[in-house]
């Protein structure tokens, strides 16, 4: 086997020098243009969010004609800022290894028994989702976005959770344990203060079929509304950003922004961002958005899988600002994936845990 005979430092430096020598220095104007585009996008999103928030406070959404699941949404909304912020160590995985699984299909075997969508066995509306890269989303009361954590390597059949950012469950000492046939998952929550430790049993949630996504992710782009009384709404744009909003239990509108992060489970995983100067990429939670038909997506958040219908931007604004709005129709401009794009996409998007695609 060939070995590198020289000083490793020197070899590495020479390699870097070789890269430097063939790397052009882009025009600074291009960098500033790129920065301006980012600024404009953020402003546009801020405007969109403000529109949603202002409109949302004016009345009740009665515009969306149907909702598939869940039947009721008794949870409450809370602002991102009010959620428990993850510590730096709670940041989502940023290594190639961690993220590659869901994108390429090379799912880590380590998490295989846990991968999939789970719901509380006792029928309480609480969901848990484990991705092939070990990232975990757990629904929690008081927030639409799922809080997240990272599954660690198993020890004696138990998978400790790290980087958990859940106000409901605390942040440390949690673990998951699958049963013998991986049909049930036990979440162990340690004692916190005066609250004794306890466990929750999750069973696998029903499968669903996602439609293939084309190369521009057309199937998830647009303004989306649910039939929820809490006026949940999403605006997803082609640059990967998402604005979400809804009512909390006091009737106040809350919301935030998110960024498309990866392609999993036949859909898209969004990180809910709450970055600051110290950590511009701080993440507070996640959504899983799965296209299930023309103009229809399922959004996995703390309220479980919930169907959203695409509306035009004007419809979304009008519906959220008018208590008397009646039936809304799905946008006639719904993009339709071409067959070729869909087939390409199907090859690129692996199924999530094998049971749902």
């Amino acid at each position: 086997m060939r070995t590198v005979p020289e000083s490793f430092d020197s070899m590495l430096a020479e390699l870097a020098d070789a890269a430097v020598s063939i790397t052009p220095l882009p025009d600074l104007a291009d960098v500033r243009r790129r920065a301006r585009q980012r600024t404009n996008r953020r402003r546009a999103f801020a405007s969109a969010l403000a529109l949603i928030l202002i409109g949302g406070s004016a009345g009740t959404v009665a515009a969306v004609t149907h909702k598939v699941a869940p039947a009721s949404s008794v949870g409450t909304m809370s602002s991102v800022a009010a959620s428990a912020s993850p510590s730096p160590s709670a940041s989502p995985p940023s290594t190639e290894t961690a993220v590659a699984g869901g994108v390429t299909g090379a799912a880590s075997k380590a998490y295989e028994p846990l991968v999939g969508l789970w719901e509380l066995k006792d029928g309480t509306q609480r969901y848990l989702i484990v991705y092939s890269d070990g990232l975990l989303g757990i629904g929690e009361a008081g927030g639409w976005a799922m809080c997240f954590g990272q599954v660690s390597a198993p020890s004696a059949g138990t998978y400790p959770l790290a980087g958990v950012a859940c106000s409901d469950y605390g942040t440390t000492g949690l673990s998951l344990a699958p049963n013998a046939d991986d049909s049930m998952l036990t979440l162990s929550v340690p004692a916190r203060g005066s609250v004794a430790g306890y466990s929750e049993a999750f069973v696998r949630a029903p499968d669903m079929t996602a439609v293939a996504i084309d190369e521009k992710n057309s199937q998830v782009l647009g303004t989306w509304m649910s039939a929820s009384a809490d006026k949940r709404m999403l605006v997803i744009t082609g640059d990967g950003m998402m604005t979400w909003s809804g009512l909390d239990d006091t009737g106040a509108v809350t919301g935030g922004t998110g960024m498309m992060e990866g392609l999993y489970y036949g859909g898209v995983r969004y990180y809910v961002e709450c970055g600051d100067k110290a950590d511009p990429y701080k993440v507070c939670g996640l959504f899983q958005v799965v296209p299930v038909g023309v103009g229809k997506i399922i959004v996995y958040g703390s309220y479980g899988p919930e169907t959203f219908i695409r509306v035009s931007a004007a419809q979304g604004s009008a519906a959220s600002s008018s208590a008397t709005s009646s039936t809304a129709t799905t946008s006639s401009s719904s993009p339709t994936a071409s067959a070729s794009a869909a087939s390409t996409s199907a090859a690129l998007f692996p199924s999530f845990g094998g049971s749902m695609s």
């Binding site: 060939r2 490793f8 590495l12 430097v20 500033r32 993220v99």
Partner: protein, 199 residues
């Protein structure tokens, strides 16, 4: 070996007023950009093994830095900020997905770093065999010249974890990098004697 090549000027641009401060900011940023862009690209390339993506992610990182230059320029080491942001961007799943799709539509991929020597190719191959965390630590230590503490600060990992990444990375590289052969054979001593006290 550490080369930062750019020193943050802490002159109070605010004294010049908004317009003057902006001009000063631009000059500062221009200087910083020109001095450091290619160096950071080479470092990200060594960490990720993809030069095209390294260029793109570093450019994006500079765009983000420009948006908040008033803040970034005051950081102790803005180059480290750029490097950290660029690295995170380069390993972003979303960007990888987008780039993978783009690759499907390219007729042929352009060869990277034409004219590399066999030793270089062996080194690139070896680096690709270790984990991203190990590779990042190895590059920050051996190429960028950071200390263990500085790597820990930049990556957000405890110093013990950084040492572990370095040790394991070297062991993994040992069959391909003769300098690390002793490490791979069980000798835990680091080869760079000048920094031995940090281990």
């Amino acid at each position: 070996m550490r080369v930062t090549g750019w020193i943050v000027r802490s002159a109070a641009c605010g004294d010049l007023g908004v317009k003057g401060g902006r001009v000063s900011d631009e000059l500062d940023f221009d200087e910083f950009y020109t001095a450091s862009f290619r160096r950071i690209v080479s470092q990200i390339y060594a960490m990720t093994g993809n030069l095209t993506e390294a260029e793109d992610s570093v450019q994006e990182a500079y765009a983000r830095a420009w948006q908040r230059w008033e803040d970034v320029r005051r950081y102790g080491d803005p180059e480290a900020w750029i490097r950290t942001v660029a690295y995170r961007l380069s390993v972003s799943a979303w960007r990888k997905a987008v780039n993978r799709r783009a690759a499907h539509h390219r007729a042929a991929a352009a060869p990277e770093l034409p004219g590399l020597s066999p030793d270089h190719l062996t080194l690139v191959s070896a680096l690709r065999r270790i984990s991203p965390d190990q590779r990042r630590a190895i590059v920050l230590y051996h190429l960028v010249g950071l200390t263990i503490a500085e790597i820990a600060a930049e990556t957000g990992a405890p110093e013990g974890t950084v040492k572990s990444h370095l040790n394991r990375g070297r062991k993994a590289l040992a069959p391909l990098v003769s300098e690390f052969a002793e490490v791979g054979a069980g000798d835990q001593r680091r080869p760079r004697t000048e920094l031995a006290g940090e281990w």
